[in-house]
């Protein structure tokens, strides 16, 4: 994509002069005005619904008597309990990443190079966990390895008190990240490159090590960093499976904020996490740039073939076994538990979801209404994310712009770095008083959920928009198309698919959002993840069963959204 962009840029300057020519002054000013107009709404959105709440909450924590209390930060950082949290956060993220790579890399190879019946379906299946809400994953693993879980029933083995449950859940979650990122590139690498090395006298292993591995390394690094980032900020899974013993920074921020109301500590931890994530994102951007270096890529469909020989079949079957045990089994157990009532299998828990609230019930409304709340919120959040993210992507995709654009681009990544808990609590505190009293507004939840959705929309749309050859637009203009017609006739058809994919991701992210929503969803309008978490937090078989049933419903909704997406995606575009 970068190459195409560069080529387009070169073309724009005609015969090789630098861009930003004085000749383009008039047109340049017009372009700047257009860009600023496009950026206005996203910038305002981020200022009001991201920067303002986050800064408010950090300020609440670290400012007293009108001045910053940096001494407190030092105090917090010196606390041995918090150092322990920091150590555990890093340690578990590193372990999860290593374990995910170990388990998923063979899978990436199998998906890239082997052809077998049902491959497309299986590829969709392994992607399902990625869009599942953390709360569902937590419940599924609880059903598998927790108290009264499948392993407990069969052999009396419980893992929910050990760190293994967390690590396995993280592998479950991120398997698709590795298979997609690495496998996608692996499949598109031209096998003839390796063949050329073989002809030049390299052995099979040497050819792989010298040709394929270097080409693959940046993708592996990018995938590893992505997994590390996700697991570093892990909240729902650790909250559910970690018990009181294990806490990541994000969980600790939640505890300090919600349980102890210790805002200074929470603010310091937020800043700490923010800095760490920024560093990770910078590293990630760097590896992505390197990945886009000149590689000879071919259509992935052409490089795959049926496995040959016992070794290759064994690799295929062991991959299938891993997927079955690690990815399918937890979800199957989750579904099974949701039907396993006190008097044999049935719909007891599902029926209970519809029951009106009793005196001692967890909710003031029937839990099933959470489904409609979630869907409505997710639709609204998706609309906001597509609007804001689409405008931002359109502004960023326009040629030139320099530092302003790069800054804006970086700004758009920040929601990934800031603790969702902080955002949620920030909403609660900052948007509570005039002029922005949204406390009672239904829109508070979708606006918070859209923040991360915007990132997905921008990151999905931007490469596609940038890859649109600028000369296609010029060709349309020369043929008489007005600027609006150019956008409708050239850009829109090319990005429509990406827009759908982006909207689908934004939808899935909103459905599963937990960290921020848990603060701001009003008690009578819980979302599915919030309802699940609340049910899991209460004792009693009925609550547990209902949590499983709600999780199952949430999983089905997410999986359906993903499979619909997968159809759109694989019609023509193939990988991501």
């Amino acid at each position: 994509m970068t190459a195409a962009e560069e080529a387009a840029g070169e073309e724009a300057t005609g015969e090789g002069g630098p861009a930003g020519a004085p000749g383009a002054r008039g047109a340049g000013r017009r372009a700047t005005v257009t860009r600023l107009a496009l950026m206005a709404l996203p910038a305002a959105f981020f200022a009001v619904f991201f920067a303002y709440p986050v800064l408010t909450i950090v300020g609440r924590g670290l400012r007293a008597d009108g001045s910053w209390q940096w001494g407190r930060a030092a105090e917090v950082l010196g606390d041995s309990g918090l150092l322990h949290v920091l150590w555990f956060t890093v340690w578990q993220a590193a372990a999860s990443t290593a374990l995910t790579l170990l388990i998923a890399l063979p899978g990436a190879y199998v998906f890239a190079r082997y052809e077998f019946p049902g491959k497309r379906l299986l590829r969709a299946v392994v992607t399902v966990p990625f869009v599942l809400p953390t709360v569902v994953v937590g419940s599924a693993f609880l059903a598998l390895v927790g108290r009264g879980g499948l392993l407990d029933d069969l052999w009396g083995v419980r893992l929910d008190t050990s760190v293994w449950a967390i690590l396995l859940a993280h592998v479950f979650f991120n398997y698709a990240v590795v298979v997609r990122t690495v496998g996608g590139l692996w499949g598109a690498l031209d096998p003839r490159q390796e063949e050329a090395a073989r002809v030049l006298g390299a052995g099979r292993l040497a050819a792989w090590r010298r040709v394929t591995l270097p080409a693959l390394a940046p993708a592996v690094a990018a995938a590893a960093l992505m997994v590390f980032l996700f697991t570093f900020t892990s909240f729902g899974i650790v909250q559910i499976l970690g018990g009181p013993r294990f806490a990541t920074l994000e969980v600790e921020i939640y505890r300090q904020t919600a349980d102890f109301l210790d805002l200074p500590t929470a603010a310091v931890l937020t800043l700490l996490q923010f800095a760490a994530v920024l560093a990770l994102l910078g590293l990630h951007a760097w590896t992505v740039r390197r990945r886009e270096s000149a590689l000879k890529l071919v259509d992935a469909a052409r490089t795959a073939r049926r496995p040959r020989g016992a070794g290759q079949w064994a690799l295929l079957w062991s991959t299938l076994a891993v997927i079955a045990v690690l990815l399918v089994l937890p979800l199957a157990v989750l579904v099974e538990r949701s039907f396993a009532g006190p008097d044999g299998h049935g719909l007891v828990f599902y029926r209970a979801l519809r029951a009106a609230a009793g005196a001692d019930s967890t909710f003031t409304v029937p839990p099933l209404t959470a489904l409609w709340n979630s869907l409505a919120y997710a639709v609204a959040a998706t609309a906001v994310a597509v609007l804001v993210g689409g405008l931002a992507a359109a502004a960023l995709a326009r040629r030139g712009g320099g530092r302003l654009v790069r800054g804006f681009d970086a700004l758009l990544m920040l929601p990934l770095g800031v603790s969702a808990v902080t955002v949620g609590f920030g909403f609660l505190i900052a948007l509570d008083e005039p002029p922005l009293n949204l406390r009672a507004s239904w829109w508070l939840v979708p606006l918070a959920q859209a923040l991360v959705g915007v990132v997905f929309v921008v990151r999905t749309m931007l490469p596609v928009l940038r890859a649109v050859d600028g000369r296609l637009r010029e060709a349309a203009a020369v043929l008489g198309a007005t600027p609006w017609q150019v956008w409708r006739e050239v850009d829109l058809p090319l990005v429509r698919r990406a827009l759908l994919v982006a909207a689908g991701f934004a939808f899935a992210v909103s459905l599963g959002e937990f960290g921020a929503t848990v603060f701001i969803a009003s008690p009578d309008r819980p979302t599915l993840p919030v309802a699940v978490a609340r049910l899991l937090g209460r004792a009693g078989e009925l609550n547990y069963g209902q949590a499983m049933a709600l999780s199952t419903i949430l999983m089905v909704v997410c999986a359906a959204a993903l499979l619909a997406l997968e159809r759109v995606r694989t019609d023509r575009t193939g990988e991501f």
Partner: protein, 383 residues
């Protein structure tokens, strides 16, 4: 590169459309593109057009007139500013100075989509998500032409470019030559006042290119289209154009009919760009010039004094070693109709010569070189 541009030049000369009747032995000093067709109204007029990219000047006060129904080819090496020229006319690149006048109307404030010019891009830029008909009809659709009329026009154009019935083919399934035809049909469909072609045949293989050049010329003749094409390939330019404009570093180095340019290159740059390498410093005295190769006869009436001298390969005759400039044959290349030789004189720079196959010496042979004044061209002294 087409090896024998003279062929193209002859074809152009034979054509009825030849412009610029200053005569075959036209003014050698045509350093700027003076209006060559006073007899016809000029459709496009560029005046003092200048485009700068930072410190680099892509177009430097370019003046050019294109008459109605005329085909003009801008020829130049890459980086000479010829693509920028087309982009400025199309409104895709603003000019720093100068004006573009089309049909008597200054286009300064007219945006691209209202200029009514056609541009065929170098690599076609067909819309990948539309089929052939969708591409060809695009310009008509933008103008709100009715569907029936569009379909009729598309069918007509596809017939014209030799792709009848291709309406529903995907552009991805087209060969290079077919894409080129679709791009041409798309550019012609809205009936542009001026059709511009950017390296129209650049990416095609040679056989196809030569066929298409002939087709294009016939087509433009039939339609009466006014065409401004740019190319780096002299063979293409000579075969296609009524008039050739040679550009160098954003300036026009020479303009004239293909034959004029071929016979009388304006300066050493043009000569070398056309593939002539036998250029040496010389001093003319009377009927001959002193050169590093010895005395070379010059055409009658040549002004005396210092100059540069071009000897076309055809003007180098092979004689026995004793009788002419003694040389060793350094290389010989079979060209089909003749043999080109690279001669290494005992003194002076190497020399290109052409001779018939039967008479061609072997590499290493000793030969003599003699010069005929018909193929000697006197060029300005310094560049």
């Amino acid at each position: 590169m087409t090896e024998n541009p003279a062929e193209g030049a002859e074809r152009a000369e034979g054509s009825e459309d030849v412009e610029g009747t200053e005569g075959a032995q036209g003014v050698a000093s045509a350093a700027a593109a003076g209006p060559t067709s006073a007899s016809r109204a000029s459709l496009l007029r560029l005046g003092g057009l200048t485009v700068r990219f930072g410190a680099h000047t892509a177009l430097d006060t370019v003046d050019l007139d294109v008459a109605e129904h005329e085909t003009v080819c801008v020829l130049g090496p890459s980086g000479s500013g010829k693509s920028t020229l087309l982009r400025v006319i199309a409104g895709l690149q603003p000019a720093d100075a100068g004006e573009v006048v089309l049909d008597g109307r200054n286009l300064r404030t007219v945006p691209t989509h209202r200029r009514g010019v056609g541009l065929m891009f170098q690599d076609h830029q067909l819309f990948p998500q539309r089929d052939v008909a969708g591409n060809v009809a695009f310009g008509l659709r933008m103008r709100g032409t009715a569907r029936a009329e569009r379909e009729r026009k598309v069918a007509e154009l596809l017939d014209l470019v030799g792709l009848p019935g291709a309406q529903h083919r995907a552009v991805g399934s087209l060969s290079g030559g077919e894409q080129q035809r679709v791009a041409l049909a798309r550019a012609l469909a809205p009936g542009p006042r001026l059709l511009m072609l950017d390296e129209p045949l650049g990416q095609l293989d040679r056989g196809l290119r030569e066929r298409l050049v002939v087709e294009l010329r016939r087509l433009f003749g039939e339609l009466g289209t006014t065409v401004l094409a740019v190319t780096h390939d002299q063979g293409e330019a000579f075969a296609l154009a009524d008039r050739v404009v040679i550009m160098r570093d954003g300036r026009i180095a020479q303009a004239g009919t293909p034959l004029e340019v071929w016979q009388r290159p304006a300066d050493e740059f043009v000569a070398r760009f056309l593939g002539f390498d036998n250029v040496v410093p010389a001093t003319v005295t009377g009927e001959a010039a002193d050169t590093p190769w010895g005395k070379v006869p010059v055409p009658g009436g040549t002004a005396e004094g210092a100059c540069r001298l071009l000897v076309r390969p055809a003007g180098v005759r092979l004689v026995p070693a004793r009788e002419g400039l003694p040389c060793t044959v350094a290389a010989r290349t079979f060209r089909g109709t003749h043999v080109s030789l690279r001669l290494r004189p005992d003194s002076g720079p190497e020399l290109d010569a052409a001779c018939a196959l039967a008479a061609a010496p072997e590499v290493g042979d000793r030969v003599g070189a003699a010069f005929t004044s018909d193929d000697v061209v006197v060029l300005p002294a310094t560049d």
